[in-house]
Amino acid sequence: MNRDLPIPAVISAIRPLTVDTSLVTLNTEPHHPVASSFLPGQFLELSLPGAGEFPVSYCGFPSVDGSIELCIRHIGHVTGPLRTAVPGDAAAVRGPFGHGFPLLAYVGQDLLLIAGGLGIAPLRSLLLALLAQRELWGRLTLLYGARETGALLFTDELLELQNRGMVELQLTVDHLEHCFDGPPYCRVALLPVLLDQLDLEPDRTCAAICGPPVVYPLLVSRLRQLGLSDDRIHLSLERRMKCGVGRCGHCAVGTRLCCVDGPVFSLAELAGIEGALG
């Protein structure tokens, strides 16, 4: 595999999820590792010819038919033009890159997934991987918060999983839009507040977190209070990962590179690094 050369992909579907976010499905070579062998939390570099390239977490489940699901917010100079792409348009992909969530270490453990905003993208990938081998893990809990109800992603899918008893789901929003009374399944509170009434066994629980940097310090201190050790807390960090292969020098966290040593780090690995949590 040449890690420098993007291989061709075709945009097969773009499904708007909110006003600024879409679920983009790509198709590339069947059996290529970029689609078939990644761990949740790893990322790929997606190119839109003429616009550029950006790093993005996998949002779906590995597939041998070459299809890749990505949840994309259209706010960048490449993701912006991607909004107006149509099925059949050309793209290109490189990957998978980095280290994902440590699934092997999770075997036999209760799992607490915490997603803030677009952080649901890699955690949906993790959730799908966990559900595919449901018998390997203990309790599965997903805490998911967004700015407002209109910004919650994949709610139908998540509520159905909850109704089928596959996952314990708690949703929250920072505030309600004026015209809504708020759905019955959703609280109005900041994400870390969901941890207040959580009943968990710290010695057999691992937390997997992805969200905006602003929530990390609060989540981490709350999880520590609940008794989770730092090696049981994994966070996905965002940085400017231009090349994906550790050469461009933009994404160091302390002396570790987000693109090759991360983007998923255990809290223990980040000890003492000022600014690591954003």
């Binding site: 050469r247 461009c248 002396t255 600014g275």
Partner: protein
């Protein structure tokens, strides 16, 4: 076997002979007075008395701006192909050799960078000893001491002791053996430099981000990025894409970037992971004295002193580094 020696008066002949193997570049003083690595014109000598060139030789391996991929609708993205010409770099000081050695570790690792690898394979390095000045810190950093080259020239009275460091060096030496004599005098103890000692690489705890010095540096720094531009081991690059006028072709370009620029850590949506100049200073410090990723624990500073010479605000990280690293630098 006694060391091989070439008398100074044979230097022009040596250069002419080397020119048969490849294009010859070295430190040349331009009409503007600036010393830079450039082609050594036939019949002229490089400026071997100059202590440092304005830009380090990294420009030969990583061009300031270069196309890395080409896109066409028919062929998709294709790696940029380049006619790489053989080049001999003559007169590299140990710090610049160490800089290239460091870049090799970054760009020729598990998955070599295609353009870098192609250029590096055709590059012959001929080092030369020098005498550090007050801006240099090569005499304490380990990497210049261990720097590899194809040939290394060590100044002694009236000439240069020549040693080969590679099969390519052996080949060149063989080609100029009629110019060489056996050296019967003493060889300076450290043939790479005139003084100094090696230290083992080691992993140190994180530098203290709350030190007031970071703010102090930040308040004087102009953010011009000159220190990084002229650093032999600053290799950060940005990646840009230019769409063709036909709208179905494109060119992807990488260009030198700079960790002192505010845009260096900015991501889509406007979040910036190093908004403050002090944070950017710390970032640079970590890279220079601690190393990133697979090279954690390997300082990238080779002690050439360029950053100290060019800083318009006269900033010098060395006193802080000496304190934090616990050794003189």
């Amino acid at each position: 076997m006694a060391p091989q020696y070439i008398a100074n008066h044979n230097l022009p002949l040596l250069l002419e002979r080397l020119r048969r193997y490849a294009e010859l570049h070295g430190p040349v003083r331009g009409e503007d007075g600036v010393v830079r690595f450039a082609a050594i014109a036939p019949g002229t000598l490089p400026d071997l008395s100059a202590l440092r060139t304005l830009l380090p030789p990294k420009k030969y391996l990583l061009h300031p701006q270069e196309t890395i991929l080409n896109y066409t609708a028919a062929a998709g993205y294709q790696l940029q192909a380049e006619d790489v010409r053989s080049l001999i770099l003559f007169g590299l000081h140990p710090c610049d050799l160490a800089g290239i050695n460091y870049l090799d570790r970054v760009f020729l690792g598990d998955a070599p960078d295609p353009l870098y690898a192609a250029r590096r394979a055709t590059l012959t390095l001929i080092g030369i000893s020098c005498t550090p000045d007050e801006f240099c810190s090569c005499h304490i950093l380990p990497s210049p001491l261990n720097a590899l080259s194809d040939l290394f020239l060590c100044s002694v009275d009236e000439g240069l002791i020549v040693t080969s460091g590679s099969p390519r060096g052996d080949e060149l030496l063989d080609g100029v053996k009629d110019l060489l004599e056996e050296w019967e005098g003493a060889v300076p103890e450290d043939s790479r430099r005139f003084f100094g000692h090696a230290e083992a690489e080691q992993v140190r705890p994180e530098p203290d981000a709350t030190l007031p010095e970071w703010q102090e540096f930040a308040s004087h720094c102009l953010g011009c990025g000159a220190c990084s531009l002229c650093c032999p081991t600053c290799y950060c690059f940005d990646v840009l894409e230019f769409c063709g006028l036909d709208s179905c072709s494109a060119e992807r370009v990488r260009q030198w970037d700079n960790c002192l620029f505010k845009s260096h850590a900015e991501v889509a949506g406007g979040t910036n992971f190093r908004k403050e100049r002090a944070e950017r200073f710390l970032y640079r410090y970590r890279h220079k004295y601690r190393g990133f990723g697979p090279l954690q624990g390997v300082p990238s500073c080779v002690g050439c002193g360029r950053c100290r010479v060019v800083c318009p605000a006269g900033l010098d990280l060395r006193p802080l580094a000496e304190r934090l690293e616990g050794r003189p630098l």
